[in-house]
Structures are given as structure tokens and as C-alpha cells.
Amino acid sequence: MITAGQMLVLAERSVVDEFADHLGSVAIEAFDDPYEAFAAMQQRVWSRVVIAASYAGLGGLCRAVRRLQPQANVLVLCGPGRESEVRSLADGINTASVIDDYFIYPLTPVEWRNLAETEQPAVPVY
């Protein structure tokens, strides 16, 4: 299971609150501002980075996260409407895949459990 300081969540407050409810507030380090999150990523290695798809320029944001955290498991949370865009980041069309996986929001209990796992990659939701 994910432990304290292993997961960085870059999302708006409501999503972060939901993460805290399911995973515990000590398990995650949450940021609303991408630039503040970058500063935290520069400081240390994270096992998992979760990005909400609500940010403008999602592709660039994911590439920046991948550049700063090459070893991290980078996941995106998105609504059904943005699945094709996010899938292209995961599939890596014409380029290396930028993210490892994505989840359609809201998450099911099984997906929350998968998200909390650090050793195994999360189950993709297609």
C-alpha cells in the first residue's frame, strides 16, 4: 500500500479531499499549483504522481512531470470526455508514452484500491 510521502497529487481541492478520504491525508502530498508541485518534484523522488486532467496544457504538464520524475508512476485522472486525449499520452503516438496509465473519474472502490498499490501498476480502465 501507498505510505506517507510516496504519492504526489496535483489536482484541485475537491479531488484532493477525495484522495485524503480514501488513502489518508498523510499518504499524499497535494498541490493545486503545478509550479509548486514542480519544486517538490525537484527535491526528491516520488513513487507515484497523479495529475488531474483539468489543467490547461495537459500534455505539456505531463511531459514536464515525466522529465522531473522519470522513475515515477505517472497517472492521470480524467473525465470520460477527455479519455481519447489522455489515452494518446499513455499510448505515446509518434513518441514515447508520457504517462503510465489513467483513470476515469470518479473512481470505483476497486480503482481506489489499485491506486493505493505501489508495487503493481494500476489496472487500466478502458
Binding site: 499549483d33 503545478p34 509550479y35 514542480f38 519544486a39 518534484m41 525537484q42 490547461a56 496544457g57 500534455g59 505539456g60 504538464l61 511531459r63 514536464a64 512531470v65 515525466r66 522529465r67 522531473l68
Partner: protein
Amino acid sequence: MGEDTKLSGGSKIIILSKDASFARAACGKQSSYNCLRVTSSYEAAAEMLIEHSLAIVIDLRCLTSGDLPLVEMARQRDLEILAVGSAPLGVSNCDLSGVRLSSRESLAGLLTTLAACRDQTIEEAQPPCEPVAVSEPVSATGQWVKRLPLSEPRDVELPASQNEPEPEPEIAEPAHHVRNVQEGYRPSALLTSEEIEALLEDGV
């Protein structure tokens, strides 16, 4: 991530533009610096954090008010910030304080100058590799004199005025200067409280 326009050369210059020809124009034919083009401000910020860069060039067509933290970050890291174009909607001139506006044509020359200045600074900071040759001592009249070995006693008698160290002339410094030295530079320390009160009474 971004694309390397040049792979050899000196420090990295981040170019934020969605236009590949813009980056090519910025890099010119010089090889004294590396250009890395990125298409989003997030990537530019990541590049800035990963490795020290010489400068960032921003194509103002792709800057929005949401990207202003990038400009602030560059300022904090003492990067040279160059921008081409006009300030987009939602971005004021004040937001671009410290940003050097340039034309697309003059960008390559400006970057070359920056890289040259960087190289010069590095050279000046490094100690000389070989000892500097010391010339023979010259007398006060400009004639060459024989250099004596260090072990030999030197019988040269100097005039009395040169034997004794001269007392340093006492220069009375103005009182406000002394206060500046002691307290650091503080405008409020330039005047005494009595002087400030006198000025306030005069309605200044």
C-alpha cells in the same frame, strides 16, 4: 520533451515556442550554445529546474497569464529572459518586468553575445594556468637594477621618511557617513531624528 536544435556547444537556452522556425531563427548558425525548444511553459519550468540554463526565450504568442509563474521562476533563478512579440491579452508590461524584448531577427545575435559574455565570465573566474612571468625590478628612475638574492643582506638605506611608516592622515568623516558604515545603508539613517523632526515641521 523538447527538441534539441543543436547538440554541441555551451550552456542551454530554453526556447518556448510552438513554432519550430522560430527556434531555428533564434539559434542561427552559432554553436556556442544549445537551444532546446519546448512547447509549453510547464516543460520550460521543468528544464529550468533540472539544469542551470543561460537564458530563456519566450515567444509571446504562446504566453498566457497562467504562465506568468514561469517568468517569475526565471527571474528568481537569475536567468536572462528574452521575449519576442507583443504582450498578449491579460499580461501587462508590469508582469514582464525584467524581460528583454527583442526582434526575431536580432535574437540570434543577442544570444551569441550572451554566450560570449558567459564564456568570458568563466575565463575570468578561473585562475591562470601558468605562472605569470615576473619582469625585472625597475628603479624609481626607470633604470634596471640588479636583483639581489633573498639570502644576501640588503644594505640599501632608505631615507628616514621611508623607513618609518607614515601615520595615516586623519580625515574627519561626515557624521552621516559614519552612521551609514555602522548601520548599513538605510535612508532613515541619513538624518538624525532631530533633523527629520525639523524637516517635518517645515512641512517638507
